[in-house]
């Protein structure tokens, strides 16, 4: 049930998705590391949700202690390797770098972190636990994404047994299935998780925890349950024609090419939405061979939820944007077997802020694939099954400091709590929650 998953990358995938930020060479890493000023109480560390001691790990690179550097990173962030690749460093550590006010060139913290982590993973990647004794007390995690992985690793470090349940065949959640391949290869995500498995974290794949009965069982077998379930499925495009085979939601589209071996795409692709996932999908479509990728978004450029740098990349790669545009129907070919285009309408913002269609502004464009990327909906059904776990705005309500939900047996972290942020935020939630769960376990079992 929990055999080690395949970690080799698909060669065609590697060829089509060259890395956006190739690793530093040894020489450039040393040069860059030496540039770091070694700030005290460094702003980069403060900006990192997991508070990685950035100057410390950078100085260790400069001083030829790569293993020490990697362990410094892992001490704060067990997913240091994937975060080095996927973190939006411009708004986190590198955005906070004092070099912006010195010579305008922030330290390449993300790439340096990757340098240390790659060396560590290439050299066997073993984390020695301080104690091998297993303390009394067991915890279950639902969902094998970043929040649960960080939570579980932290508990193992402190000697407690953890089992992670996930309905999918591979661990990692969005790290494995949902992050654009040119940022993080599924194979790299799996390699990192092998390291966590090596710490003694147990995995149960293919097991969907959804019913009353399973919850009863977990509650009986485990002292506490951590909800790291992320957000639910992507919202559906509810317009005529949306049920056709050529309409594929962005997360499914990404998961299919990353782990499903589906390396085909339409010639003309429409992506609906302008968030980070929408941009990931659009850029993936180009790499998979789409000749034209257009994005439609119902508001203007300034309102997109994608990071500015993501948007700039997409533009530079040739993605076209249609602002103030809403799709109204997916059009089928005459024989009804495939998509032939999409009909859109111009919208405008009314005085009360609501959007309304502009009469007579409908237009059509040819396409053979539509990728809706209009946000994920919360896993409400499941959550309501967790008795007494209160929700707020569709997210699990927790005590920020402890991660505890309104049901004392349940804790939660990651996207299901924060509404969908970054991997590093999920790691921070998981780690913080683990520390508090340990206190509860100590109280319970002594």
């Amino acid at each position: 049930m929990s055999t080690a998953p395949k970690q080799e990358a698909n060669p065609e995938l590697v060829a089509r998705f060259p890395e956006l930020h190739p690793p530093l060479t040894q020489v450039s890493a040393l040069t860059e590391a030496n540039r770091c000023l070694y700030c005290f109480d460094a702003p980069c560390t403060a900006a990192c949700p997991t508070h990685i001691d950035v100057p410390r790990f950078i100085k260790k690179i400069a001083q030829g202690n790569l293993r020490g550097s990697a362990l410094t990173i892992l001490d704060a962030n067990i997913l240091g390797a994937s975060c080095a690749r996927v973190c939006p460093v411009d708004v986190l550590c590198e955005g906070a770098c004092v070099m912006h006010r010195y010579n305008k060139q922030p330290i390449e913290i993300g790439l340096l972190q990757r340098h240390a982590m790659d060396a560590f993973l290439a050299n066997g990647a073993t984390i020695e636990l301080e104690s091998t004794e297993t303390r009394q007390g067991r915890v279950a995690c639902i969902g094998a994404g970043p929040a649960s992985l960080a939570f579980a690793a932290e508990l193992r470090r402190r000697g407690y047994g953890v089992t992670i349940f996930d309905s999918r065949p591979l661990p990692g959640g969005l790290n494995t299935y949902g992050v654009a391949e040119y940022k993080l290869r599924a194979s790299d995500s799996l390699r990192e998780i092998e390291m966590i498995r090596g710490m003694g974290v147990e995995f149960q794949f293919g097991e969907r925890i959804e019913g009353e009965e399973q919850l009863n069982r977990l509650e009986k077998e485990f002292d506490y349950v951590f909800l790291g379930i992320g957000l639910g499925a992507m919202r559906e495009l509810q317009i005529p024609g949306c049920e056709q085979a050529g309409v594929v939601d962005a997360l499914k589209f990404i998961a299919d090419y990353k782990t499903g071996g589906r390396l085909s795409v339409g010639k003309r692709v429409i992506v609906v939405g302008a968030g980070n996932t929408a941009i990931d999908a659009a850029r993936a479509a180009l790499r998979l061979g789409a000749e034209e990728v257009q994005m439609v978004y119902r508001r203007d450029e300034a309102s997109i939820s994608a990071f500015q740098f993501e948007y700039e990349y997409a533009k530079a790669e040739g993605v076209k944007f249609h602002w103030w545009t809403q799709p109204v129907a997916v059009l089928a070919s005459e024989d009804g077997r495939k998509i032939r285009g999409i009909r859109c309408v111009r919208v405008e913002s009314a005085a009360n802020g609501e959007l309304r269609n502009v009469a007579g502004s409908e237009w059509e464009t040819a396409c053979d694939m539509v990728i809706p990327a209009i946000g994920q909906s919360p896993l409400l059904e499941f959550l309501q099954a967790c008795r007494g776990v209160k929700l707020e705005n569709g997210r699990v309500a927790v005590d920020r400091a402890t991660g505890q939900t309104s049901n004392a047996k349940y804790f939660a972290g990651g996207d299901c709590v924060n509404g969908g942020r970054e991997v590093v935020d999920a790691v921070a939630d998981g780690k913080r929650t683990a520390v508090s769960v340990v206190r509860f376990l100590e109280k319970k079992h002594g």
Binding site: L30, T31, N34, L37, Y38, C39, F40, D41, P43, T45, A46, A47, C48, P49, H51, A62, C87, P88, V91, L92, V98, M99, R101, Y102, S305, R400, A401, N418, G419, G420, R421, E422, V424, D425, A428, R432
Partner: protein
């Protein structure tokens, strides 16, 4: 009337006899090993060269240099175990003669080292001068290899030998004689005085410093590795400049020792050279910088020097030679009432907090981060660096995502400077001892300045204070 514009004159006259078009000579070392090299050096603009030490040809080992790198920069310091020339004396003499013929305006000094016999010294002096050398430099400084054979620093470490051999040389020499001093001695002035007593016309200082630069952590063999073994070498390069400046000042500040001095030790650019000249040197010699970058570096040495002189209004080198010498005094003459404090210029502070860490751990705990709240721990004392870091680590940080963030979280209070006020340190001027450390660690030029605050207090040195306190009449003041 048109004022005639002239470039500053950077030529020098050493010991009243040796003319050189500029003060930059190549030191006796690998860059002056043969005539072909020296001629290329003169073509590049070097004013003079001290030929690689002449003597009985030796056999060198292979693997001869090792160095100290620092923070990614190569060769902060260079160490060598190479000996004097390994070429036949006749070849060197013939080439000296030829170079001098082709480059009559450049200075050519012959560095000499032979066994400590009067005849041997007389012979080599005669040979070098016959070849056309403008002067002689007695190598009493080489600290490795040759010293084991009773030459080099084995002579320079014993004042009596130094005086005796200098005197032998002076019996024969018609050109100026410079004695090159070793720094590997407790008081360099003692040997300098001996050289002066022996009749030397000038000195050159410093030769290299005994060193082991480092050890290979895989093989456990110190560098340079000669078939699994190493030997101490001579250290030079930028790292030794402060030591060289101090020794130069000691010699120049001593009436019984001072002579025209050719300054040596880590000189890499025109600024280094000016510093040696300000401490009274008549010219300078360079080696490591050339071994690192080639002869071409002399261009900016001449150019930078001339531009600086023009800016300062100096027409010739003697206008500023020795100008800083009187500024170096014994500690007891320093003004105890001079008081400066650090000022942090908020508008250029980048918020690295290196000054804060340095002041707390390496100085006097008078820089604080208390411009915004939370600067104090509960009991009114200042938070320690560890406490401060702890607060930061406990804070919950999130990736900023406009769509998800509450509007109140997005905009902090307006900040007066580019760096958040909470990260700009503050100096407690009452506690500040004016040590300079913060201004030294600050990466931004001019961000931390040291400013004088002792208004209307008469100067008083330690010597004066002791004298005054011994005087009962003054005590009652």
């Amino acid at each position: 009337m048109v004022e005639k514009k002239t470039s500053p004159d950077i030529s020098v006259l050493f010991a009243g006899k040796i003319h050189s078009p500029n003060p930059f000579w190549l030191a006796s070392a690998p860059p002056t090993n043969c005539g072909e090299q020296v001629m290329r050096a003169f073509d590049a603009g070097w004013g003079g060269a001290v030929w690689k030490t002449l003597g009985e040809p030796i056999t060198n080992v292979s693997s001869r240099y090792s160095s100290i790198d620092w923070n990614g920069q190569r060769m902060m310091g260079l160490n060598n175990i190479e000996l004097i020339t390994d070429r036949p004396l006749a070849v060197n003499l013939r080439e000296i003669s030829e170079v001098k013929k082709r480059y009559p305006r450049n200075t050519l000094i012959a560095s000499l080292m032979v066994e400590s016999k009067r005849e041997a010294w007389h012979t080599i002096v005669q040979q070098a001068e016959d070849a056309g050398a403008d002067g002689l430099e007695l190598n009493f400084g080489c600290p490795h290899g040759m010293s084991e054979r009773g030459m080099g620093s084995a002579v320079g470490q014993v004042p009596e030998y130094t005086e005796m051999i200098t005197a032998w040389v002076k019996e024969k020499a018609r050109t100026p004689v410079l004695v090159k001093l070793t720094p590997n001695i407790s008081d360099i002035r003692v040997v300098a005085r001996a050289a002066k007593r022996g009749g030397a016309d000038g000195l050159s200082a410093i030769n290299t410093i005994n060193s082991i630069t480092g050890i290979d952590l895989d093989t456990f063999v110190p560098r340079p590795n000669v078939d699994g073994r190493s030997s101490h070498g001579g250290y030079c390069g930028p790292a030794v400049k402060p030591i060289a400046l101090n020794l130069v000042q000691q010699v120049q500040g001593d009436a019984d020792a001072n002579l025209p001095l050719s300054g040596i030790g880590g000189i890499s650019d025109w600024r280094d050279a000016v510093e040696f000249l300000l401490l009274g040197c008549s010219n300078v010699q360079v080696c490591t910088a050339v071994m690192h970058y080639g002869y071409r570096i002399v261009d900016d040495m001449c150019d930078g020097l001339a531009n600086w002189m023009r800016e300062k209004g100096f027409g010739k080198i003697s206008d500023f030679q020795g100008k800083s010498l009187e500024r170096v005094q014994e500690w007891k003459h320093l003004n105890l009432n001079y008081k400066i404090v650090a000022r942090i210029h908020e508008e250029t502070c980048i918020g690295c907090e290196l000054c804060y860490a340095a002041c707390w751990d390496g100085a006097h705990q008078c820089i604080h981060l208390d411009r915004v709240g939370e600067g104090h721990s509960g009991n009114g004392r200042h938070a320690t660096p560890a406490e401060r870091e702890n607060v930061s680590r406990q804070r919950i940080a999130m990736t900023p995502i406009p769509k998800l963030d509450h509007p109140l979280l997005r905009n902090g209070d307006a900040e007066p400077y580019a760096t958040p006020l909470s990260r700009i340190p503050r100096v407690d001027e009452d506690e500040c001892v004016g040590c300079n450390l913060c201004s030294l660690v600050c990466p931004v030029d001019g961000c931390i300045t040291m400013e004088r605050v002792d208004k209307n207090v008469a100067a008083e040195s330690w010597e004066q204070r002791v004298a005054n306190s011994a005087n009962p009449a003054r005590k009652c003041d």
